[in-house]
Amino acid sequence: MLEQFEQLLSQNDIFNLATLMHYWGGFVTTIQLVFLSLVIGAVIALPLGILRTSKNPWISKPIWIYVYIFRGTPLIVQLFLIYYGTAQIEGIKGTWLWENILAEAFYPCLIAFVLNTAAYTTEIIRGAIENTSKGEIEAAKAYGMSWAVRMRRVILPSAFRRALPAYANEVIFMLHASAIASVVTIVDLTGAARDIYSRYYAPFDAFLFVAAIYLCITFTLIFTFRHIENKVLAHLKPLSH
């Protein structure tokens, strides 16, 4: 089996086992980066999104500023700022934090991605919370539910469902944005394609192959989310006959 595969590979110059392993390594890095950023970003975004709907301007305005700045500027600039910026903080070199975390390109990149996706997700959650129908909140209040109980039992469960289509877009956006990691020496999928392009000077083979991989991941995500949406939004579907 493997021999046949090798024979198939030997028919072309570029896609040998070594390059395929290089792509595989890039694939793993991309998935790690995107997955970690999305999970940590969502954990940060949930409280921020809830607090963003607060009526107290001292709570909601700072969050608005954070969201506005991170949504209004390119991710690549945020990445540069964190990647070059952390190295310049006084006395950080030699500390445990620097030696173990920040010196590798992966973590500054992860921080930038997390802050970016958290800003977008905060806005999605805010929108979903604010679109809760008034009647539901009134009913919860009439039952004597406190703010926390209301949030937990009534508002958030339906808000998550409403947020799902927009969040699916954000996941795909994050996957595509993660290609920027290759700019700061990380060998993700795009980084692997760049390496292979420069070694063989074959732009079409290197980039079209990686484009196809991204396309496959995108479609997998779209179908997964559509499946989840069909399940959790089933009660909103128009009745057929």
Partner: protein
């Protein structure tokens, strides 16, 4: 004004380049988007298929990958084309794919796909009766498009175009990766050279926020213009 250790003027020049790239790609994107949108609502299955493949493929691949494909691959394709032209017709021409063209073409091409979706929705929101009335007046297809379709669909398309424009503006920062000396590249190089990332990158962030704020204001004005005579419920 802002000297920034002598880097100020060149970074400001980079900002102009960013705006230039953004506006040219927007024009290309609107053009492609109109074609794509028209193809998507047409009854011709071939046009329909091409447009669907275009919008699906482009939206499934990261912009950076497409940009590298067009920048690195485009030059090779153009070289092959000039070789072919030389051997076939003995015409000696050379096409140069520089960072600027590659950037504008890629961004225009990508956002053309998003615009096509926007325009498709907007075309469909123009009442069929309006177009029939145009036909009844004996208007040519172009007259129907320019006098009836376009002014009415712009109102529906503007919010979508506005969103696309704001995303496009940020995407222009990617041209710095393929080597165009835009605001982002100049500032990050200055940051690397002087070891003062905050001094150079914070002005870039303000630059983008300023452009975003100006665009939002401009879009509001445009939306007011195209919503003339619409009574909001």
């Amino acid at each position: 004004m802002l000297d920034l250790q002598g880097y100020g003027p060149s970074i400001l020049g980079g900002a102009l380049l960013t705006v230039e790239v953004a506006i040219l790609s927007l024009l290309l994107a609107v053009f492609l988007g109109l074609l794509g949108g028209l193809a998507k609502i047409s009854s011709n299955p071939i046009l329909n298929g091409i447009a669907t493949v275009y919008t699906t493929l482009i939206r499934g691949v990261p912009d950076l990958v497409l940009m590298m494909l067009i920048f690195f691959g485009g030059q090779m394709m153009m070289n092959n084309l000039s070789d072919w032209l030389y051997t076939k017709f003995e015409v000696d021409v050379f096409f140069n794919v520089n960072e600027f063209t590659a950037g504008v073409i890629t961004i225009g091409f990508i956002f053309g796909a998003y615009m096509a979706e926007t325009f498709r929705g907007a075309f469909q929101s123009v009442e069929l009766g309006q177009i029939e009335a145009g036909k009844a007046y004996g208007m040519t297809p172009w007259q129907i498009f320019s006098r009836i379709m376009f002014p009415q669909m712009m109102r529906h398309a503007l919010p979508g175009i506005g969103n696309n424009w704001l995303v496009l503006l940020k995407t222009t920062a990617l041209v710095s990766v393929i080597g165009l000396s835009d605001m982002v590249r100049l500032a990050s190089e200055a940051a690397k050279a002087t070891h003062q990332p905050f001094l150079f990158l914070l002005p870039v962030i303000f630059g983008f926020l300023l452009m975003t704020a100006l665009s939002e204001w401009g879009l509001k004005m445009l939306e007011r213009k195209y919503s003339a005579g619409v009574v909001k419920g």
